[in-house]
């Protein structure tokens, strides 16, 4: 066994800090590969003893990239436990905020985080990123910024600030949308829709197709998928949780309150992220995937026009249930289009500007589960509180917990492409691991609700059969 240590460049452009270790067998081939999440914060503990009305303000701080779904999953958990159902315009405005977050977040990922690989394939890895993207594609970046400005402004108008919004209160929102704002935002989202479709048609999709040829089969695996659906259509804010098997058959449809019957978690000795899994038999180690690809695979139809068209295109290319890991990027595009179309549908409804503020609520002991689709997939918040409304127990399962096992399986497959009989093609390994992991768009902050314990941003470690560090 070689014991030389080589510095492997950290993989970047993911949310948070993750390292990778690869164990080699006696023959110098890949035996195991693990992603290590190096952060821990302990949000569940410090929610306990706090008033449950504070949960929607504390939980967004789990993740600055997707604070809106945390904010909304928390308020939904409270409302379900207190038996409240907000008026229809309130639910629609909350979905509007969530849809806008999906668009903002997907755009950042599509055009910067993963976008640097697609749009700058000839640059060395270390030079890929926002400054070189802007230098090479100034007009594209300007358009992306203008689009995000529309969606982030809608969130901050309703929620004071786009990152860590303060919008949702029991049965209501802190703020109304004026008729003038509704019209202005409707015009804005229509422009965003046009721009996304045009930019992707002309530039982004051809580049993705090229990358999918260059990295054919990268990280492919067969898994179950879990996502929200409403009447068999894609859903973001409200719906039924659906599990499908790798062939597309529906394994279960269940309401948020029944999540413990269908989704479990296991601790992983080598990661601060727990892995969510499906305890019912039939799936490989209970592995499932969440996120844009799950939303697209699980829904029978999109429910909006342009996303529906793209979904048909997607299925003709990847089958009824897409399993290609890099297809997650295309699914993210469909998800962005679906979200902007939902935002448009909601803003086209004049009824969203009028609703009555909720009456004050009397707290009583309760327990509630709130589930929404975050940009990265199914997000579950579960709280139990006492008669005065103080939280006694809290549990949060994020999409990156769901994808933790799948990332490990993909990683093993990807590593084997660059490591044979002790020979390691480091450059290829580093490159392909990054591209595969970015396709999952993991959110490390979410996965651990964690206090960052980072050493490297994303170091790759290779261990020999005795567990000694082979390369770093």
């Amino acid at each position: 066994m070689r014991t030389e240590k080589i510095n492997v460049a950290p993989v970047t452009r993911i949310e948070g800090t993750m390292s990778v270790s690869i164990n080699l067998d006696e023959g110098g081939n890949v035996a195991q590969a693990h992603a290590h999440v190096l952060e821990f914060r302990g949000f569940e503990a410090f929610l306990c003893g706090r008033h449950v009305s504070k949960a929607p303000l504390v939980t967004p701080r789990i993740c600055g990239v997707c604070p809106v779904p945390h904010h909304l999953a928390s308020i939904k958990a409270l409302e379900s436990g207190l038996g409240l159902e907000p008026p229809r315009p309130v639910a629609m405005l909350r979905e509007l905020m969530l849809a806008c977050e999906h668009v903002s977040d997907h755009l950042l990922h599509m055009f910067v985080m993963a976008g640097a690989d697609l749009l700058l394939p000839d640059l060395p890895l270390a030079q890929r990123g926002l400054p070189t993207l802007y230098a090479t594609y100034p007009q594209v970046l300007r358009q992306v910024v203008s689009m995000r400005n529309v969606t982030q402004t809608i969130i901050s108008t309703l929620g004071v600030q786009a990152v860590h919004p303060d919008a949702a209160v029991l049965d209501g929102l802190n703020k109304h949308l004026t008729e003038a704002e509704r019209r202005r935002f409707l015009e804005g989202v229509r422009q965003v829709k046009e721009t996304i479709l045009k930019l992707c048609d002309e530039l982004w999709v051809p580049r993705l197709q090229k990358a999918m040829q260059d990295y054919a089969g990268l990280g492919r695996l067969d898994t179950h998928f879990v996502a929200l659906v409403r009447d068999d259509q894609m859903a973001l804010y409200d719906g039924t949780v659906r599990i499908i098997d790798p062939g597309g058959a529906v394994v279960a449809d269940f309401p948020a309150s029944a999540y413990l019957d269908h989704i479990g978690e296991k601790d992983i000795s080598y990661s601060y992220a727990k892995a969510a899994y499906l305890p019912s038999p039939g799936s490989s180690e209970g592995m499932y995937r969440a996120g844009p690809i799950a939303r697209v695979n699980v829904a029978r139809v999109a429910g909006t026009e342009q996303a529906g068209r793209l979904m048909e295109e997607f299925r003709s290319g990847f089958g009824q249930v897409a399993q290609e890991t890099l297809a997650q990027n295309f699914a993210r595009y469909i998800s962005a289009v679906y979200a902007i179309e939902r935002a448009e549908q909601i803003l086209a409804d004049r009824g969203i500007t009028e609703w009555e503020p909720a009456a004050p609520v009397e707290y009583k002991a309760g327990e509630g589960v709130g589930i929404v689709e975050a940009p990265r997939g199914l997000l579950i918040h579960h709280f139990r509180w006492d008669d005065d409304g103080y939280i006694r127990a809290a549990n949060i399962i994020t999409p990156t917990n769901a994808n933790a096992s799948a990332i490990d399986f993909s990683l093993k497959q990807v590593a084997a492409r660059s490591i044979r009989s002790g020979q390691v093609d480091r450059e290829k390994l580093e490159h392909e691991v990054g591209i595969m992991i970015r396709a999952y768009d993991p959110c490390i902050s979410c996965a651990t609700h964690a206090m960052s314990m980072e050493e490297d941003l994303f170091g790759i470690e290779i261990l020999d059969a005795d567990g000694n560090l082979h390369q770093k």
């Binding site: 390292s19 995000r148 978690e265 296991k266």
Partner: protein
């Protein structure tokens, strides 16, 4: 001819919301990149692995490991101005709530008491992972900070005003185009 000011964004333990606020500066950020700022390090947005020496280093999040702390001590030699970026770096923020609990309680709650945990033996993860240490302190406890920008996150407009003012203070004449 004025050269551009070099800027690095280093996140410690953070939610990355401060970086998103920076992205939310939008066109103002791109205008700065045009002729005033050379963004050399920001892991969320780019793959550069290090930042050498910079004019402005913005630190977000809280420090948890000795490594983080050593990194903070090193920072002083590598940056003309150090900015405590956001409430976590400046005060401890929401992650600072951890100081109210025993470390064991935090870990047991997450890895042993969660109702969705079904398999496994309730192992507290440790393999190949950095150990959790100490309490959360403002980064100013470890390194001399030139500017503090509180806010969770600091609003994009505040960031724009701040950068404009700090750029005026920097001696950037004639070093390169």
């Amino acid at each position: 001819m004025k050269r551009k000011a070099t800027l690095a964004i280093q996140d410690l333990c953070a939610c990355d919301g401060c970086e998103v606020a920076l992205a939310d500066m939008g066109h103002v950020l791109l205008d700065l990149l045009d002729d005033k700022v050379d963004l050399v390090y920001a892991p969320l947005f780019m793959s550069a692995h290090d930042y050498g020496e910079v004019d402005i280093l913005m630190l977000t999040g809280v420090a948890r490991t000795e490594d983080d702390i050593a990194h903070l001590r090193q920072a002083r030699q590598r940056a003309r101005y150090i900015v405590s970026f956001g409430s976590c770096a400046t005060f401890g923020g929401i992650p600072g709530l951890a100081n109210l609990y025993e470390r064991a309680t935090l870990l047991e709650t997450a890895y042993q008491n969660a109702p969705s945990l079904r398999v496994g033996e309730g192992t507290i993860p440790s393999e190949l992972l950095p150990a959790l240490t100490g309490e959360i302190r403002p980064i100013g406890a470890y390194v001399d900070v030139d500017f503090s920008l509180p806010g969770c996150p600091p609003p994009p407009r505040l960031l724009a005003d701040f950068l404009e003012r700090v750029l005026k203070q920097l001696p950037l004449q004639g070093e390169r185009s």
